[in-house]
């Protein structure tokens, strides 16, 4: 494969006529690993869920309220989305558990026939509600609608997630900011394990819904190791890596991810929560992560920013008013096939439909990137792909954390490859 865009094209990614290297069989999830990168920890797999067979590594767009920011479920299918996210806390407020029960779950309510994942609702409690107080019983918070005191327990989270009916549910965990240090981190880690056991006990539909535990432990190697080991003993259908992407240094972030994937069972899917920047997806896949979610691609679209391999374009500024090329000439999304940057500039700031056009592209961009990662792994060409990706995205100066992370899985960007590409490190995160 010569150009980077070749990796991301639609069609078979290399799964055909292969038998899995190894697999796991949970009642509602079959995970089959088809290829392992011979250099890094990356793997390409399929995940058979009750509603859909997803291919991993995959990115899951976030549709908080049972809808994806003006995009129809038909479009999401056409964009090759395998699994989408719903937020339990928001869905519990609106439309609420009773209506979801009546509708027969969120799949039917929103008319989405593929995979779905819901969070526990705990994260929103902590991020949205300043008055949340965490006790052993659960998360106590003030209802923003009527100011009454309410409690979200592991049992209630699971009951609500059972009503929503997602293919994958998340345990309620005791979330602390990744910047927190001291005994609170240890307390949260242990409590999260106790809450996991309560979630498992409360789960009514293990035959058609999967419950994922969440690795906690902040940025502490000992605590994370302890958490990952304890969770692995539970033989869950898959595992999430949580408590990260909260503003910690990237060089600590990747070490925690890598430590977790080293311990978690190899034949189970691993989900790194809240990750969505292109370089993070590439690096974390090299570290052995299979699933990601992030609001970033659709949120940034609403501000008029279109994603490309080499960074994002601010189409709201007049900069592209005379640029009669598509956002990306290699992109096969409906927006890029139809519209120029100049056209998008005339519509993006004015109308909802402008946001929709960019959202479509940004989701397509994420899906193409994930296809390229899978295809590269299946063709055992992943290290080569990673180098090409980094050269286009960063040129010859790559953030130090990426150099370090990739070095840990045997890709050394500071040594020239056949094409002559090599990079020096800069001690900052990618900001464009």
């Amino acid at each position: 494969m010569s150009a980077l865009s070749d990796y991301g094209r639609p069609g078979d990614e290399g799964y055909e006529n292969r038998t899995p290297l190894f697999e796991s069989n949970s009642p509602a999830l079959k995970f089959k690993v088809y290829a392992k990168c011979s250099t890094t920890k990356a793997r390409a797999s399929t995940m058979v869920l009750p509603h859909y067979t997803a291919r991993t590594p995959m990115f899951m767009p976030v549709g908080t309220m049972g809808t994806m920011k003006g995009i129809t479920t038909k479009q999401l299918e056409e964009l090759d989305c395998h699994v989408i996210l719903g937020n339990t806390y928001h869905l519990g407020n609106r439309p609420g558990k009773d209506l979801l029960d009546k509708a027969g779950g969120l799949h039917k309510f929103m008319n989405w026939s593929r995979g779905m994942l819901t969070d526990s609702g705990g994260f929103q409690m902590v991020s949205l509600l300043k008055l949340a107080k965490i006790t052993e019983e659960g998360v106590e918070f003030r209802n923003p609608h009527d100011d009454s005191l309410m409690m979200l327990t592991p049992e209630m989270s699971i009951e609500l997630q059972n009503s929503i009916g997602a293919d994958i549910m998340m345990q309620l965990d005791d979330v602390v900011s990744s910047l927190t240090t001291g005994p609170r981190v240890e307390e949260a880690m242990h409590r999260s394990i106790r809450w996991l056991d309560r979630c498992i006990a409360a789960h009514k539909n293990p035959d058609r819904q999967n419950l994922f535990p969440i690795v906690q432990g902040g940025l502490d190697i000992k605590l994370r190791t302890c958490s990952a080991r304890a969770l692995s003993e539970r033989d869950s259908p898959g595992y999430a890596i949580g408590g990260l992407s909260g503003g910690e240094a990237k060089d600590q972030f990747w070490r925690m991810v890598s430590l977790s994937t080293d311990i978690l069972p190899e034949n189970k899917p691993r989900y790194c929560m809240g990750v969505g920047y292109a370089e993070d997806l590439v690096v974390c896949s090299a570290l052995g992560v299979d699933m990601y979610d992030c609001v970033f691609p659709t949120r940034t679209a609403r501000f008029g920013n279109a994603l490309t391999m080499s960074g994002s374009l601010s189409l709201k500024s007049g900069k592209y008013a005379k640029d009669f090329t598509p956002i990306s000439k290699d992109c096969d999304c409906p927006t890029c096939k139809t519209y120029t940057r100049a056209y998008l500039t005339t519509v993006v700031a004015k109308e909802n439909v402008g946001c929709h056009l960019i959202s479509v592209h940004n989701i397509a961009f994420q899906m193409q990137l994930m296809r390229s990662i899978r295809r590269a792994i299946l063709h055992d060409d992943f290290p080569n792909f990673v180098r090409r990706f980094m050269s286009i995205r960063f040129g010859n100066t790559v953030p130090l954390w990426i150099i370090n992370a990739l070095k840990s899985v045997n890709i050394d960007l500071t040594v020239a490859d056949e094409s002559g590409y090599l990079a020096t490190s800069i001690d900052s995160d990618f900001k464009k």
Binding site: I71, A342, Y343, T346, K350, V353
Partner: protein
Amino acid sequence: MTKALTFTVQNPQPSNLSTGSNGDSQSPKQKCRLGQLEFTPPTTTTATTTDTTKISLETPNFFQYTIQGLQPHLVPEVASHLESMPPAIRVNLEGFVKDREIPVSTEYPGKLHQFLGYPENNSPLLLLDIYDPVILERNIKPNSKSLGVDTEGGLQRITGKGLAKIVEKYRPDIFVLPADYVFSKIEELYEGKRVKKSVERTKNWITEYMDTSLSQSQKPALFVPLTGAPNETLREASVNFVKELDADGNVIDGYVISEYGIVGGYPLEKKLDMAWSSFSSLDQNKPRYMVGVSSPHDVVMSVDSAGIDLFDATYPYAVTEQGFASTYVFGDISVESRKDETLKGHISLWETPMFGDFGPLVPGCTCFACQRHTRSYVHHLLMTHEMLATVLLQIHNIHWYNNLFKAVRSSLKDGSFNEKKCAFLKNYVKQGEDGNAKYLLNELILLQSQTISPTTKAGYKKFGRRLSEDSATTA
């Protein structure tokens, strides 16, 4: 040379019921009419002759109202679910104007159609007009030399010469010539001075446009706005200017009657009378396009009383923005399963009973939204301020609006128009408590009395305020 745009009037079947409801006993002639608008796109250098497909539009019909070439809220892959929409769009020039007279987008090497994303060999009939008809309040200070456009960066002036340059670059299929529209209150309209100026300026701008475009090789079909209301002499002056302009009958291809031009601020009946009096001394074989009046009630009345052929189709957008779904029916309503809702003309998806209603927006509707989603879901989307709400409602409302025109045309063909019109007016015009007529289908043309969709961006500016409170009704 044969013209690219042709219009053929086909007289409707005579009906056994009496004609027009406006009491025009002088003219027993039926005004409503069926027509065929045909457009043969110019052959392009790249396309072979077989690629040139004729665009055909049966009238009465509408130009799809668009925002930068797109149905409001609908990206092309979503709009593609709409069936048998008229292959004709209306594009508003002011959407492209920023800080210079000639928009930057004119530097695009292809036609406006292609800039808007339509393929070269499969573009709709594209009509370019200057102002967006949903914006009813403006501060544009025209002068004798130039018209004004409100932009984010302030006022931008455009001269007749500038317009000719823009049109030469954009190459629309139809261009609506400029007019000095009076965006002001009805009292000012009655002062002859402002209207007199408007007729003069319109004449000047058009003359400058025509002079500049003389040397241009590819010219669009031209629609000309009629101005001069409320003054009979001025209206006549406007008509005479058009006659002069079109002396050989080959310069002008259609007439435009506009809410903020000739007919602004008046009750509908009066508007239509004025429009008709202008039309009657002009070429009967040219299409008539009505801008700024598009509610189903007003469409039926305009077809009936002024023989309007084409409309601007902003009504469905207004219904969508307020979180409503259209339910009105022109024709037999006995087959509708929710007759109570059919007789309301529209239903609000905001209302609490929608919360647990798992039925489609309208039972039996074949649109994408009704086929795939429920009232309960759309209600949820509105309550949570989600943009998919207006996407689904716009699909339904424009589909429904298209059905109205299909029904009107077929009733003109089989001679049942008058009968259906009477039933329609009986269903949708009610006696209000104050004794005045209540026009159910004109309830949603303003945003002020309704909850505005949380996803509406320019909110109050659009559909903001009519020239006068009752101008939308025939009261």
